[in-house]
Every structure is written in structure tokens, then in C-alpha cells.
Symmetry: C2
Subunit: 286 residues, 2 copies
């Protein structure tokens, strides 16, 4: 049982981690699997006070070094779902489950726009973790729509248990299909189904019959991450202490709203961690 | 007429300045006259992401260097009072007056506890700027209670126009009195007066008859800085965009509430500046 679980691996998550470490809390960072973030592509940053004229990639390296010096390690695991167990939380990270007393969400810019039908058929053919839900579709036809290379592993895994796997990459790849995996082209348009479940996936090029579709995303839709989490303008609603509407759950950085700025994210990570510590001290007395 | 005036000179103020500069706004920083801040005394800071194991004094130097590289200069002037002129603000900084379309308050940790009688007799014998109000007390007896060396200059100035000046330093000093200036010892306890005005100052050592008392503080009580500014728990009340209850006025850093942290201050300065820019773009179209 961790004192806190940080979901995300960017500046807000790293700043939160520093503060939990200094306050001697036992925590885990589920940083996800995505290597390419918006920050890493920034050519020149001059408004993070104290570190001038630096590329996003270099700034990330400096941040990583700071964490390393403090003995903090990130896990490159994606949190798919957080269950509220009353006085603690259970995080489903694919192959692993973790328990934590508090949660700090720092998943980056929230994705506002879901595909047509995506939310409607969630849990009825739409999923975000092939490793988790794949076995439900043994000998069936599934599709994977993926924003990153992680999807390729998921496709290989599903190809072993499903009769047919369609793979639609939304990034540049030289992925070579084999066996029962076929590549799809174009952009995903909508998830189509009947009263009960998904029946097909429509892309800008074709419409294929499927039993399930998995979306492998760099950032999960925040409202899918944790049931009952209140949003505002597509971002997680927080107060000045970075508390969400769910006691013990805090959010910071881009997922907590505009402006999308490094200094803001780092400051909010700082505050979220200290609020988590305050919550632990108040509610988790031995 | 400046686009923005930043009141304060610490991390929040500096971060705000970076962002105003990048957004090509015309602004002034009234950093005050105090050289010794809480941050400058911090022996070792490890939770400002990217700059590890650093003393407060060194961190300030790195921040100052960043500003210098961006061509930003602070003015070592203290803002005593801000007047809301409707569609702009006028700042009284002792000998100088400045006009600005927006205000960013970053004055540091708010002082919650005033002296007994201080607020009651404000403007009726209690003041914060001897240069501003001293001439009202020509040939009268005044006292100065000062947290820093600036008070010594004020004492010399008042000694030229007042019949008697008492000086109570709240810091270590080798200030030598001369002429009609007398040093007071002890701690200030209360300001005493009749129905109309101040009559005496009570310290832990004695009670002296005076016509006026000036408090020279490192940080002014925020509610004295700008009339009508809404407070909450002794700090300036702000929303997530760092907007106060007065349109065009933003606050950031310690004066906007706990936790008193560098990363939080820097992040809030970032947000306050961008909110000021947004306000200018929306309300100040040519």
C-alpha cells in the first residue's frame, strides 16, 4: 500500500515526486509508456525561471537528473483505470495492480474529443488496455487504433488469442504485419454497434466488421481513468489546493486546465504533493 | 501608462516578468527596498525542479541572471498604495507615481497581525510612508517603527520637518541618533488615541506621546495596498487564473496563500502574467 500514486511522468508529476520524497512518503510514479511529449518537441524555452534558453528535451534531461539525484524512479507503466475502494484506491496498470491511499493525477493535456460511439460502447467492445481485456475476445475479430508503438506489442499479443487483428497506427511506423494481423489505413471515424455491443469500425478508407476495438492512447480520457471525477471545460476540476471532487485525489499540470505551461505544472505538482501529505496526515493516522 | 505593474520582487514577481516580457508587454517591477527575504536565508533547497541542492541566495542569483539575460530590470521602489481609477490604476511609490492598466501583486507572505490600534487610526496618525505623509506633521512629534534600514532615511527626513522623532528599529542596526531623533527600545505593543487621532505609542518598555507613527515594513498589509481587495484567511483571494475580486488585478506567490513554496510562486507568477495579457487583449483594444 503506497501513500501516494502519481499517474503521469511530465513536469507536474516530477515536481510532485520531489515533494513526496522530501516528506518521506512511500509512493509510485506510473509514467506511462509514451516517450514523445509536447514538451520534448519544444525548441526553446525561456520562461521557466532559473533555466533560460533551453530545449524541451534538454529541460526534461535536467529534470530527470534531479529525480535521479533524489533517488526517485519512474515506472514506465500506464495506469488504465483507478478504482475508488473507499479509504484507498486500486490502480490497474495492465499486468500490475497497485494500491495507494492517495492519487495525484498528472496525465497531461486532457483529450476532449472522443470518437463517435467510443464512450457509448465503452466496456461493450471498446477498451483501452488490450492486455487487460483481450482475453474476453478469444477467437474473435478485434481492431487496435494506436497513437504509439505500444500498440504493436498489443497487436502481437492479441494475434495469439484472437482469430483476426486489424491494426490502425496513428503514427509513423515500419511495423510489418504477419499471420492474422492486417494494417488499416486512414483515420478512425466512428465506432458502430447494435443495442448491445460493437459491430464495426469505420475509418476514412473503409468499414470493417469487428467484435472489439482498443484505443492505445498517449493520454487516456480523464473521465475514463476514475469514475465520478468532476471535469470543467474538459479538464479535471480542482480547487486552489489541487484537490478534485473525490477526497484523496489531486490533479496538477495540463490535465488540471489552462494555461499549458511548464512553470504552472511544476508549481501545481508542488502544491498537489503537499496537499496529499496533508490529507495523509489528517486521515491516515495509525 | 504601463500595460502592467508588478508589485514585489521575489520568485512570483520574477516569473510574471519573464512572461510579460515574452508577450511584449510594457511593464514595471516595483520590487520594494527590502534586501533580506525569507528565501535568501534558506540554507538548502531541493524541491525546485531542475535546480537541486542550492541555497536560497544562490537561487535568487540564478533567477536574477535569467531576468538580466532577458533585459528585465527591477526598480527598488516600494508601492505604498494603489488607486483604482476605473480603467487603469495609479500606484503611489513614495516619490514617484506610476499608471498601469493591470496590476500583479506579488508582495510575499501577507502580514496577518497588525498592532492594536494600527488599523483603527490608519490615516489619522498611522501611516506607512513617511515621505508621503510626513509633511502633514510639521513641527509635531512622530515615531517610526521600522523593520529595515529604509526607516533610518525616513527618520532623517522627518527630523528636518518635525520637532521630535522617535525611532524604534525592529532589526539589528548601529544607527546613531542625532539632533532631535531619539532611539526607542523594546517591542511595539499598541497605538493609542482619542476619538479623532493618535495620541501615543506603547512599547514593551515605555509609553510615549506622539502625533503620528509610521510603520516601515518589508511587506505592507495587503488590505492597505488596494482598497476593496478581498482577502481569505489573511491572504489575497484568487481564482485558478490568479484573478482577484477586482478586474485587472491579479495576485501570485505567498501573498495569494499557502503553501509558501518557490515552485508554487513561480507557477502562479506564470499564470498571473498570462491572465493579465489575456485581460489586456480583451479589454484594452485600441
Amino acid at each position: 500500500m503506497f501513500d501516494a500514486a502519481i499517474v503521469g511522468g511530465g513536469p507536474a508529476a516530477m515536481s510532485a515526486a520531489l515533494n513526496l520524497k522530501i516528506r518521506n512518503k512511500d509512493f509510485i510514479i506510473l509514467a506511462g509508456t509514451d516517450k514523445v511529449t509536447g514538451l520534448s518537441k519544444a525548441p526553446n524555452i525561456e520562461n521557466y525561471l532559473g533555466i533560460n534558453n533551453i530545449s524541451g528535451q534538454e529541460l526534461i534531461s535536467i529534470y530527470e537528473k534531479h529525480l535521479e539525484e533524489m533517488g526517485i524512479e519512474k515506472k514506465n507503466e500506464m495506469a488504465y483505470n483507478i478504482l475508488n475502494m473507499g479509504d484507498y484506491f486500486t490502480i490497474n496498470a495492465g499486468n500490475n495492480f497497485y494500491d495507494a491511499k492517495t492519487i495525484i493525477i498528472a496525465t497531461g493535456k486532457a483529450r476532449n474529443k472522443l470518437l463517435d460511439g467510443e464512450e457509448q460502447y465503452l466496456g461493450r467492445g471498446v477498451g483501452y488496455c488490450a492486455t487487460c481485456d483481450g482475453p474476453l475476445y478469444r477467437n474473435k475479430t478485434v481492431a487496435i487504433v494506436s497513437e504509439n508503438e505500444e500498440g504493436e506489442e498489443e497487436a502481437r499479443f492479441l494475434s495469439e488469442i484472437c482469430s483476426k487483428v486489424y491494426y490502425l497506427p496513428l503514427y509513423k511506423t515500419s511495423f510489418t504485419t504477419n499471420g492474422n494481423i492486417s494494417l488499416l489505413k486512414g483515420k478512425p471515424i466512428s465506432v458502430i454497434g447494435n443495442e448491445n455491443k460493437v459491430t464495426s469500425l469505420s475509418t476514412s478508407e473503409e468499414k470493417i466488421d469487428i467484435d472489439a476495438v482498443f484505443f492505445i492512447r498517449n493520454v487516456l480520457p480523464v473521465n475514463q481513468l476514475l469514475d465520478g471525477l468532476e471535469l470543467e471545460d474538459g479538464s479535471i476540476k480542482v480547487d486552489r489546493s489541487m484537490a478534485t471532487n473525490i477526497p484523496g485525489v489531486f490533479a496538477c499540470g495540463d490535465c488540471a486546465g489552462k494555461p499549458f505551461q511548464i512553470a504552472k505544472a511544476v508549481g501545481e505538482g508542488n502544491v498537489a504533493a503537499l496537499s496529499s501529505v496533508k490529507y495523509l496526515d489528517k486521515n491516515m493516522e495509525v
